[in-house]
């Protein structure tokens, strides 16, 4: 099974996250990561979902059944910028610190907190790069780690603005009367 990255624009209403997740759960797929937050347009959120799927097309179509879903794109094969952030609390006694500092510099990571025996490092980058850094730093002893899950944006002029999908928000769509 192939990993897919799906970007969804959704109306920000209570329960929308639960609906999207429920639809994926129903098919027994595991979500590898899911990131959601405000988009450029008020009232519209953008989600990035990473999941192993066989028939992505079908799931994408079913996502459209959800009333709040405006646009779903499978960007797996599109040129994208992908980012993820990880926070790591390391076991860092004074003797080990110079090595850790050197590594963070190589990876462009940031030291955001230093305690008596600990350091908190912030690492942002492509998911592969973040993973690399984690692998390298793990031997020093990671006490806690948190990852945001990836967010993905299509490069260049392609991709979808939220505005395209909210402009016709007002008024009823066509209603075809049911004949007997």
């Amino acid at each position: 099974m192939k990993k897919h990255t799906i970007v969804a624009l959704v109306q920000d209403r209570p329960g929308v996250l639960s609906r999207v997740v429920g639809l994926i759960r129903r098919r027994g797929f595991n979500i590898e990561s899911l990131a959601v937050g405000h988009s450029e347009t008020p009232g519209v959120s953008r989600m990035t979902i990473v999941v192993e799927w066989e028939d992505v097309e079908q799931v994408v179509k079913q996502l459209y059944r959800l009333i709040e879903v405006l646009k779903v794109s499978d960007v797996t094969n599109d040129p994208t910028v992908e980012r993820e952030m990880a926070l790591m609390k390391l076991h860092a006694p004074p003797a080990k610190r110079p090595e850790i500092v050197a590594l963070t510099e190589v990876f462009d990571a940031k030291i955001v907190d230093v305690g008596a025996n600990t350091m908190v490092i912030e690492m942002t980058g492509s998911p592969a790069k973040v993973q690399n850094f984690i692998d390298v730093i793990r031997p020093y002893g990671i006490r806690e780690m948190m990852r945001t899950g990836r967010i993905a944006m299509v490069r260049g002029a392609r991709g979808h603005t939220a505005e395209e999908y909210v402009e016709s928000a007002n008024g009823h769509a066509e209603r075809v009367p049911v004949a007997n």
Partner: protein
Amino acid sequence: MSEKRTGAQVMCEALIRNGVEVMFGIPGGAIMPFYYAMWDYRDKLRHVLCRHEQGAGHAAEGYARATGRLGVCIGTSGPGATNLVTAIADAMMDSTPILAITGQVASHVLGKDAFQETDITGITMPITKHNYLVKRAEDLPYVFEEAIYIATTGRPGPVLIDVTKDAQQATIVPDWNIKLDLPGYKPNYRPNLKQVREAIKLILSAKKPLIIAGHGVIMSGAVEELRAFAERTRIPVITTLHGIGAFPEDHPLSIGMPGMHGWVHVNRAIQECDVLFNIGGRFDDRVTGKASTFAPNAKVIHVDIDPSEIGKNVKVTVPIVADARLALQAFLNEFPPDREAFAELHGHASDWMEHIREMQAKHQPKQQYFNRADTENMSLPPHDVYAALTKALNSRGNYRVVTDVGQHQMWAAQLIDWYRPRTHITSGGAGTMGFALPAALGVAIACPNDTVWVICGDGGFQMTNQEMATIVQEGIKNVKVAVINNGYLGMVRQWQELFENKRYSGTPLSGPDFAKLAEAYYWKGITVEHTSQVEAAIEEAYATDGPVLIDFRVEREVNVFPMVPQNKSISEMILESPHKS
């Protein structure tokens, strides 16, 4: 206009504004404010008190299925709401427009396991088209408007609104100036003409074309258009279980039902056809059998209002996302007036039809049940009931038939002659036993001038038979019940007989004396044990001015044939029991 109203009054007015006239439900603590308000609107909003919320849900479905209008059901919080769940799931599977209204505990105790609290919006998320939790009375006008719009448009379906008790009680000045904000919900009704022309090209190139008509034809009111299209092209027409009535079975182009209990000639025709035009059906697995082996030679044209149905089970050559009626109108408009092309198509179609009729004659579909040697020593073969019922329906007209789930349901689909839309109502997608009687209650209220026949198994009838009391309390007289009483969960027993070496595990079934049970509910009850009594019993049912139940004690171990075993190709049909007892 800008007078003060309680939330509960707003709910009533929102329903009335949307043309609702009848609601089916049961009150309880969390929904009491709504019932309190309802009293003032009782001239316009009729409330039907059911005996179980599942019955209320099915009654709403029956009302919707008989009319195409919104059905409404009501339950209180907790168990009242969860009792609605089966009917909501049933409506989801069969695209039935119903609105379920549930009371919820007060907003300040939400999520604290208050008395009779259940998270009904959470529970019904996957089985509703959409649902809402309303905590503020101010939101009620908008939510009701949007909910009803969603339930009744596009591919219809169930919508649930859960209203906290305090939102029902709060006093507000409702704002009825509503503009729906639904950027993500834009059903596509009009077909893409390029696709329609593509499909027409395919049809004109066909030598063995078939039309398969589904529920969408009935829901969109496309029956006339379908008939015109079939007659113009002379393509044979199949009707699915939910497509029954979309095309009259006495029409020379009608060939019958496909699928698990479809006719041999229909399934064979599907396997042979080169172009399959599906209008408003969803290629359910009960139609396709093992999908990968379905219609192996066919290019498929699929018209469906729901894009997620297209290509889901069967590969499609020309997808058309549209309302079935508007699509067929486009086909009729776009069909070229090219006589030569037509002549060729007509030539092929009539050879093809001849071939299908030959297959049909060989297998004698309906006759295989009747006049058979092995039914001779049965005192009441089930088919004799269907023969007599069909005769009565045909001679008297003005009927609706509601069937439950099991063998009796398949026999009804196979053996009764169907002519008109919305005369055959059943639980198809979910296969919900216990559907028929409560659904018939809704049908009877919607169609007071029709005789509403319930055809039900002895198993399913015992799941919801308490609605007999509702029918009496409402003064409903046009419901007549035929219990096809075989003393088994018959359809399951049939599978056990055919595939599990007759291990009748959990299928022999006793019941009450159904006629006496009916009498206890102040119905007329009749028991029939022999073929010779069948016609008289049906006559008596018609002659009786009130609800009647006939307990048809049929031969116990009769099977529904033909049958395609589950997940087998529809080419592999079983035509009779391998072991005759």
